[in-house]
Symmetry: C2
Subunit: 197 residues, 2 copies
Protein backbone atom coordinates (compact mmCIF):
# COMPACT_ATOMS: atom_id res chain seq x y z
CA UNK A 1 0.00 0.00 0.00
CA UNK A 2 1.37 3.40 -0.88
CA UNK A 3 -1.62 5.62 -1.58
CA UNK A 4 -5.21 4.92 -2.61
CA UNK A 5 -6.27 1.76 -4.43
CA UNK A 6 -6.56 3.57 -7.79
CA UNK A 7 -3.12 5.16 -7.48
CA UNK A 8 -1.59 1.84 -6.44
CA UNK A 9 -3.25 0.12 -9.41
CA UNK A 10 -1.96 2.87 -11.73
CA UNK A 11 1.59 2.41 -10.42
CA UNK A 12 1.26 -1.33 -10.97
CA UNK A 13 0.15 -0.90 -14.61
CA UNK A 14 2.85 1.69 -15.32
CA UNK A 15 5.49 -0.69 -13.92
CA UNK A 16 4.54 -3.12 -16.73
CA UNK A 17 5.95 -0.77 -19.36
CA UNK A 18 9.40 -1.70 -20.69
CA UNK A 19 12.10 0.36 -19.02
CA UNK A 20 10.00 1.22 -15.97
CA UNK A 21 10.41 -0.69 -12.71
CA UNK A 22 8.31 -0.19 -9.56
CA UNK A 23 10.40 2.77 -8.41
CA UNK A 24 10.35 4.67 -11.69
CA UNK A 25 6.64 3.85 -12.05
CA UNK A 26 6.00 5.54 -8.67
CA UNK A 27 8.05 8.57 -9.77
CA UNK A 28 6.16 8.72 -13.07
CA UNK A 29 2.75 8.51 -11.35
CA UNK A 30 3.68 11.24 -8.86
CA UNK A 31 4.83 13.41 -11.75
CA UNK A 32 1.56 12.71 -13.59
CA UNK A 33 -0.51 13.58 -10.51
CA UNK A 34 1.37 16.85 -10.04
CA UNK A 35 0.77 17.71 -13.71
CA UNK A 36 -2.69 16.17 -13.92
CA UNK A 37 -4.25 18.98 -15.94
CA UNK A 38 -1.35 19.60 -18.28
CA UNK A 39 -0.02 16.07 -18.76
CA UNK A 40 -2.08 13.28 -17.18
CA UNK A 41 -5.48 14.10 -18.70
CA UNK A 42 -4.11 14.70 -22.25
CA UNK A 43 -2.05 11.50 -21.95
CA UNK A 44 -5.08 9.47 -20.83
CA UNK A 45 -7.21 10.87 -23.66
CA UNK A 46 -4.56 10.24 -26.30
CA UNK A 47 -3.97 6.71 -24.99
CA UNK A 48 -7.70 5.97 -25.28
CA UNK A 49 -7.74 7.28 -28.85
CA UNK A 50 -4.67 5.34 -29.93
CA UNK A 51 -5.91 2.16 -28.19
CA UNK A 52 -9.13 2.44 -30.22
CA UNK A 53 -7.56 3.41 -33.57
CA UNK A 54 -4.13 1.72 -33.78
CA UNK A 55 -3.83 -1.39 -35.91
CA UNK A 56 -1.23 -3.35 -37.83
CA UNK A 57 -1.01 -2.84 -41.58
CA UNK A 58 -2.41 -5.97 -43.22
CA UNK A 59 0.28 -5.75 -45.89
CA UNK A 60 3.54 -4.92 -44.09
CA UNK A 61 2.87 -5.10 -40.33
CA UNK A 62 3.63 -1.40 -39.74
CA UNK A 63 1.47 0.29 -37.10
CA UNK A 64 -1.03 2.94 -38.19
CA UNK A 65 -4.69 3.76 -37.97
CA UNK A 66 -5.82 2.20 -41.26
CA UNK A 67 -5.93 -1.37 -42.53
CA UNK A 68 -3.24 -0.50 -45.10
CA UNK A 69 -0.57 1.91 -43.80
CA UNK A 70 0.43 5.20 -45.44
CA UNK A 71 3.72 3.76 -46.69
CA UNK A 72 2.01 0.82 -48.42
CA UNK A 73 -0.68 3.17 -49.81
CA UNK A 74 1.88 5.60 -51.25
CA UNK A 75 2.61 5.09 -54.96
CA UNK A 76 5.95 6.86 -54.47
CA UNK A 77 7.09 4.22 -51.99
CA UNK A 78 6.39 1.41 -54.46
CA UNK A 79 9.87 1.66 -56.00
CA UNK A 80 10.52 -2.07 -56.14
CA UNK A 81 12.40 -2.16 -52.84
CA UNK A 82 11.31 -3.81 -49.58
CA UNK A 83 13.29 -3.44 -46.36
CA UNK A 84 12.70 -6.36 -43.99
CA UNK A 85 12.89 -5.46 -40.27
CA UNK A 86 12.25 -7.40 -37.08
CA UNK A 87 10.18 -4.79 -35.32
CA UNK A 88 8.12 -1.63 -35.85
CA UNK A 89 10.74 0.19 -33.73
CA UNK A 90 13.32 -0.71 -36.39
CA UNK A 91 10.99 0.61 -39.12
CA UNK A 92 10.65 3.88 -37.19
CA UNK A 93 14.46 4.10 -36.84
CA UNK A 94 14.86 3.64 -40.63
CA UNK A 95 12.17 6.29 -41.30
CA UNK A 96 13.87 8.78 -38.98
CA UNK A 97 17.06 8.46 -41.03
CA UNK A 98 14.92 9.46 -44.04
CA UNK A 99 17.24 7.69 -46.45
CA UNK A 100 15.07 4.71 -47.48
CA UNK A 101 12.23 5.48 -49.89
CA UNK A 102 10.81 1.99 -50.48
CA UNK A 103 8.40 -0.11 -48.43
CA UNK A 104 8.85 -2.37 -45.41
CA UNK A 105 8.03 -5.81 -44.19
CA UNK A 106 7.84 -6.13 -40.39
CA UNK A 107 8.51 -9.69 -39.22
CA UNK A 108 7.50 -9.12 -35.62
CA UNK A 109 10.40 -11.23 -34.34
CA UNK A 110 12.91 -13.81 -35.47
CA UNK A 111 12.70 -17.51 -36.22
CA UNK A 112 13.25 -19.59 -33.11
CA UNK A 113 12.95 -23.35 -32.87
CA UNK A 114 13.24 -23.01 -29.08
CA UNK A 115 10.28 -20.61 -28.78
CA UNK A 116 8.35 -22.36 -31.57
CA UNK A 117 8.44 -19.35 -33.91
CA UNK A 118 8.11 -20.53 -37.52
CA UNK A 119 8.02 -18.74 -40.91
CA UNK A 120 4.20 -18.30 -40.79
CA UNK A 121 4.42 -16.53 -37.40
CA UNK A 122 6.74 -13.98 -39.01
CA UNK A 123 4.56 -13.49 -42.11
CA UNK A 124 7.35 -14.75 -44.34
CA UNK A 125 4.83 -16.37 -46.74
CA UNK A 126 3.21 -12.93 -47.17
CA UNK A 127 6.62 -11.42 -47.89
CA UNK A 128 7.09 -14.02 -50.64
CA UNK A 129 3.65 -13.14 -52.07
CA UNK A 130 4.51 -9.44 -52.09
CA UNK A 131 7.52 -9.98 -54.37
CA UNK A 132 5.34 -10.51 -57.43
CA UNK A 133 2.28 -8.53 -56.26
CA UNK A 134 4.38 -5.36 -55.84
CA UNK A 135 6.98 -6.07 -58.58
CA UNK A 136 9.80 -6.09 -56.03
CA UNK A 137 13.34 -6.17 -57.41
CA UNK A 138 15.41 -5.71 -54.22
CA UNK A 139 14.91 -6.97 -50.67
CA UNK A 140 17.12 -5.37 -48.00
CA UNK A 141 17.45 -7.62 -44.97
CA UNK A 142 17.84 -5.12 -42.12
CA UNK A 143 17.69 -7.65 -39.29
CA UNK A 144 19.60 -7.29 -36.05
CA UNK A 145 23.17 -8.62 -36.01
CA UNK A 146 22.23 -11.32 -33.50
CA UNK A 147 22.38 -15.07 -34.07
CA UNK A 148 18.56 -15.30 -34.36
CA UNK A 149 18.46 -12.26 -36.65
CA UNK A 150 21.09 -13.70 -38.95
CA UNK A 151 19.46 -17.17 -38.98
CA UNK A 152 16.19 -15.52 -40.01
CA UNK A 153 17.97 -13.46 -42.70
CA UNK A 154 19.49 -16.63 -44.17
CA UNK A 155 16.13 -18.40 -44.17
CA UNK A 156 14.48 -15.49 -46.02
CA UNK A 157 17.42 -15.27 -48.46
CA UNK A 158 16.92 -18.99 -49.27
CA UNK A 159 13.20 -18.42 -49.92
CA UNK A 160 13.79 -15.46 -52.25
CA UNK A 161 16.97 -16.58 -53.99
CA UNK A 162 16.88 -16.05 -57.75
CA UNK A 163 13.72 -13.92 -57.60
CA UNK A 164 15.13 -10.61 -56.32
CA UNK A 165 18.41 -8.90 -55.50
CA UNK A 166 19.15 -9.55 -51.82
CA UNK A 167 21.17 -7.05 -49.80
CA UNK A 168 21.83 -6.26 -46.16
CA UNK A 169 22.88 -3.15 -44.22
CA UNK A 170 26.65 -2.67 -44.19
CA UNK A 171 28.24 -3.55 -40.88
CA UNK A 172 30.85 -1.30 -39.37
CA UNK A 173 31.77 1.41 -36.91
CA UNK A 174 28.84 3.77 -36.24
CA UNK A 175 29.43 7.44 -37.02
CA UNK A 176 30.90 9.02 -33.92
CA UNK A 177 31.39 5.57 -32.45
CA UNK A 178 34.50 4.83 -30.43
CA UNK A 179 36.30 1.56 -31.08
CA UNK A 180 36.75 0.96 -27.39
CA UNK A 181 32.94 0.77 -26.94
CA UNK A 182 32.32 -1.69 -29.77
CA UNK A 183 32.05 -5.42 -29.41
CA UNK A 184 34.58 -7.67 -31.15
CA UNK A 185 32.10 -8.79 -33.80
CA UNK A 186 31.48 -5.24 -34.96
CA UNK A 187 35.19 -4.48 -35.12
CA UNK A 188 35.81 -7.69 -37.06
CA UNK A 189 33.02 -6.87 -39.50
CA UNK A 190 34.28 -3.30 -39.91
CA UNK A 191 37.81 -4.50 -40.59
CA UNK A 192 36.68 -7.15 -43.09
CA UNK A 193 34.57 -4.56 -44.96
CA UNK A 194 37.34 -1.95 -44.97
CA UNK A 195 37.48 0.38 -47.96
CA UNK A 196 40.29 2.20 -49.79
CA UNK A 197 40.53 5.88 -48.94
CA UNK B 1 7.54 11.50 -38.17
CA UNK B 2 7.47 7.91 -37.06
CA UNK B 3 3.87 6.79 -37.35
CA UNK B 4 0.55 8.63 -37.33
CA UNK B 5 0.08 12.05 -35.74
CA UNK B 6 -1.68 10.58 -32.67
CA UNK B 7 1.00 7.97 -32.08
CA UNK B 8 3.75 10.59 -32.49
CA UNK B 9 1.94 12.87 -30.03
CA UNK B 10 1.58 9.98 -27.57
CA UNK B 11 5.31 9.23 -27.79
CA UNK B 12 6.05 12.91 -27.18
CA UNK B 13 3.87 13.00 -24.03
CA UNK B 14 5.29 9.73 -22.71
CA UNK B 15 8.83 11.09 -23.18
CA UNK B 16 7.95 13.83 -20.64
CA UNK B 17 7.73 11.27 -17.84
CA UNK B 18 10.75 11.12 -15.52
CA UNK B 19 13.03 8.22 -16.45
CA UNK B 20 11.73 7.94 -20.02
CA UNK B 21 13.65 9.45 -22.93
CA UNK B 22 12.48 9.50 -26.57
CA UNK B 23 13.76 5.97 -27.22
CA UNK B 24 12.16 4.35 -24.17
CA UNK B 25 8.95 6.32 -24.84
CA UNK B 26 8.81 4.79 -28.34
CA UNK B 27 9.39 1.32 -26.87
CA UNK B 28 6.69 1.91 -24.25
CA UNK B 29 4.16 3.12 -26.84
CA UNK B 30 4.85 0.12 -29.11
CA UNK B 31 4.37 -2.17 -26.11
CA UNK B 32 1.11 -0.38 -25.25
CA UNK B 33 -0.16 -0.68 -28.83
CA UNK B 34 0.63 -4.40 -28.89
CA UNK B 35 -1.24 -4.85 -25.60
CA UNK B 36 -3.93 -2.29 -26.32
CA UNK B 37 -6.81 -4.35 -24.95
CA UNK B 38 -5.03 -5.76 -21.92
CA UNK B 39 -2.86 -2.81 -20.91
CA UNK B 40 -3.38 0.41 -22.87
CA UNK B 41 -7.14 0.80 -22.42
CA UNK B 42 -7.11 -0.05 -18.67
CA UNK B 43 -4.14 2.30 -18.20
CA UNK B 44 -5.91 5.14 -20.04
CA UNK B 45 -9.10 4.63 -18.00
CA UNK B 46 -7.25 4.51 -14.69
CA UNK B 47 -5.22 7.61 -15.61
CA UNK B 48 -8.43 9.50 -16.36
CA UNK B 49 -9.91 8.46 -13.03
CA UNK B 50 -6.81 9.37 -11.03
CA UNK B 51 -6.43 12.68 -12.90
CA UNK B 52 -10.00 13.54 -11.89
CA UNK B 53 -9.83 12.29 -8.29
CA UNK B 54 -6.26 12.81 -7.03
CA UNK B 55 -5.60 15.76 -4.76
CA UNK B 56 -3.18 16.87 -2.06
CA UNK B 57 -4.25 16.49 1.55
CA UNK B 58 -4.98 19.99 2.87
CA UNK B 59 -3.41 19.03 6.19
CA UNK B 60 -0.21 17.13 5.38
CA UNK B 61 0.35 17.33 1.61
CA UNK B 62 0.01 13.57 1.05
CA UNK B 63 -1.70 12.53 -2.17
CA UNK B 64 -5.09 10.86 -2.01
CA UNK B 65 -8.60 11.24 -3.31
CA UNK B 66 -10.08 13.22 -0.40
CA UNK B 67 -9.41 16.72 0.95
CA UNK B 68 -8.01 15.15 4.12
CA UNK B 69 -6.00 11.96 3.53
CA UNK B 70 -6.61 8.58 5.21
CA UNK B 71 -3.54 8.96 7.45
CA UNK B 72 -4.66 12.36 8.74
CA UNK B 73 -8.24 11.05 9.17
CA UNK B 74 -7.14 7.99 11.13
CA UNK B 75 -7.40 8.41 14.94
CA UNK B 76 -4.81 5.65 15.34
CA UNK B 77 -2.21 7.67 13.46
CA UNK B 78 -2.71 10.67 15.76
CA UNK B 79 -0.10 9.41 18.24
CA UNK B 80 1.61 12.75 18.78
CA UNK B 81 4.30 12.09 16.17
CA UNK B 82 4.79 13.84 12.84
CA UNK B 83 7.39 12.72 10.33
CA UNK B 84 8.49 15.57 8.04
CA UNK B 85 9.47 14.49 4.52
CA UNK B 86 10.46 16.38 1.39
CA UNK B 87 8.28 14.52 -1.05
CA UNK B 88 5.26 12.20 -1.33
CA UNK B 89 7.66 9.56 -2.73
CA UNK B 90 9.49 9.69 0.63
CA UNK B 91 6.18 9.32 2.50
CA UNK B 92 5.42 6.24 0.37
CA UNK B 93 8.90 4.84 1.12
CA UNK B 94 8.28 5.32 4.88
CA UNK B 95 4.85 3.68 4.61
CA UNK B 96 6.28 0.69 2.74
CA UNK B 97 8.68 0.08 5.64
CA UNK B 98 5.53 -0.08 7.84
CA UNK B 99 7.44 0.95 10.95
CA UNK B 100 6.12 4.49 11.47
CA UNK B 101 2.61 4.78 12.88
CA UNK B 102 2.27 8.56 13.23
CA UNK B 103 1.36 11.23 10.69
CA UNK B 104 3.37 13.07 8.06
CA UNK B 105 4.08 16.54 6.84
CA UNK B 106 5.12 16.73 3.18
CA UNK B 107 7.20 19.83 2.47
CA UNK B 108 7.18 19.48 -1.29
CA UNK B 109 10.85 20.44 -1.55
CA UNK B 110 13.60 22.12 0.44
CA UNK B 111 14.39 25.71 1.31
CA UNK B 112 16.47 27.35 -1.39
CA UNK B 113 17.50 30.99 -1.51
CA UNK B 114 18.77 30.39 -5.05
CA UNK B 115 15.42 29.07 -6.34
CA UNK B 116 13.43 31.48 -4.18
CA UNK B 117 11.84 28.70 -2.08
CA UNK B 118 10.83 30.12 1.31
CA UNK B 119 9.17 28.62 4.43
CA UNK B 120 5.63 29.42 3.16
CA UNK B 121 6.29 27.52 -0.09
CA UNK B 122 7.06 24.43 1.98
CA UNK B 123 4.02 24.84 4.27
CA UNK B 124 6.29 25.21 7.30
CA UNK B 125 3.82 27.67 8.93
CA UNK B 126 1.13 24.95 8.66
CA UNK B 127 3.50 22.46 10.27
CA UNK B 128 3.95 24.89 13.17
CA UNK B 129 0.14 25.22 13.48
CA UNK B 130 -0.27 21.44 13.54
CA UNK B 131 1.95 21.10 16.64
CA UNK B 132 -0.77 22.45 18.95
CA UNK B 133 -3.78 21.49 16.82
CA UNK B 134 -2.77 17.82 16.85
CA UNK B 135 -1.03 17.77 20.27
CA UNK B 136 2.26 16.77 18.67
CA UNK B 137 5.05 15.78 21.05
CA UNK B 138 7.71 14.56 18.60
CA UNK B 139 8.69 15.75 15.13
CA UNK B 140 10.95 13.40 13.14
CA UNK B 141 12.87 15.30 10.47
CA UNK B 142 13.24 12.66 7.73
CA UNK B 143 14.77 14.94 5.13
CA UNK B 144 17.30 13.80 2.59
CA UNK B 145 20.95 13.84 3.67
CA UNK B 146 21.74 16.58 1.16
CA UNK B 147 22.93 20.11 1.95
CA UNK B 148 19.50 21.60 1.11
CA UNK B 149 17.73 18.89 3.10
CA UNK B 150 19.88 19.51 6.16
CA UNK B 151 19.55 23.31 5.87
CA UNK B 152 15.78 22.87 5.83
CA UNK B 153 15.90 20.48 8.80
CA UNK B 154 17.86 23.06 10.83
CA UNK B 155 15.41 25.82 9.92
CA UNK B 156 12.44 23.69 11.04
CA UNK B 157 14.28 22.67 14.21
CA UNK B 158 14.79 26.36 15.03
CA UNK B 159 11.08 27.05 14.54
CA UNK B 160 9.95 24.19 16.78
CA UNK B 161 12.67 24.26 19.44
CA UNK B 162 11.29 23.98 22.99
CA UNK B 163 7.81 22.99 21.79
CA UNK B 164 8.40 19.35 20.78
CA UNK B 165 11.06 16.67 20.90
CA UNK B 166 13.00 16.91 17.65
CA UNK B 167 14.59 13.82 16.16
CA UNK B 168 16.05 12.82 12.84
CA UNK B 169 16.71 9.57 11.03
CA UNK B 170 20.28 8.79 11.92
CA UNK B 171 21.73 5.37 11.29
CA UNK B 172 21.55 3.86 7.88
CA UNK B 173 20.97 6.95 5.81
CA UNK B 174 24.07 7.30 3.66
CA UNK B 175 25.66 10.71 3.16
CA UNK B 176 24.08 12.26 0.08
CA UNK B 177 21.50 9.46 0.03
CA UNK B 178 17.85 9.97 -0.79
CA UNK B 179 15.14 8.13 1.14
CA UNK B 180 13.32 6.91 -1.92
CA UNK B 181 16.41 4.94 -2.99
CA UNK B 182 16.69 3.06 0.29
CA UNK B 183 15.40 -0.42 1.04
CA UNK B 184 12.77 -0.95 3.73
CA UNK B 185 15.25 -2.46 6.20
CA UNK B 186 17.51 0.57 6.07
CA UNK B 187 14.59 2.88 6.70
CA UNK B 188 13.41 0.73 9.61
CA UNK B 189 16.91 0.73 11.15
CA UNK B 190 17.27 4.47 10.69
CA UNK B 191 13.91 5.15 12.32
CA UNK B 192 14.53 2.82 15.27
CA UNK B 193 17.95 4.42 15.91
CA UNK B 194 16.69 8.01 15.60
CA UNK B 195 18.53 10.54 17.77
CA UNK B 196 17.53 13.73 19.57
CA UNK B 197 18.75 16.86 17.87
ZN1 LIG C 1 2.05 -1.21 -44.66
ZN1 LIG D 1 -2.93 14.13 5.27
Amino acid sequence: MTATRDIDALIELMAKLPGLGPRSARRAVLHLIRKRGLLMTPLADLMSEVAASARECLNCGNIGTTDICDICESEKRGNGMICVVEDVADLWAMERSGVFRGRYHVLGGTLSALDGVGPEDLSIPRLVDRISAESVTEVILALNATIDGQTTAHYIADQLEGRVTLTSLAQGVPIGGELDYLDDGTITAALNARKSL
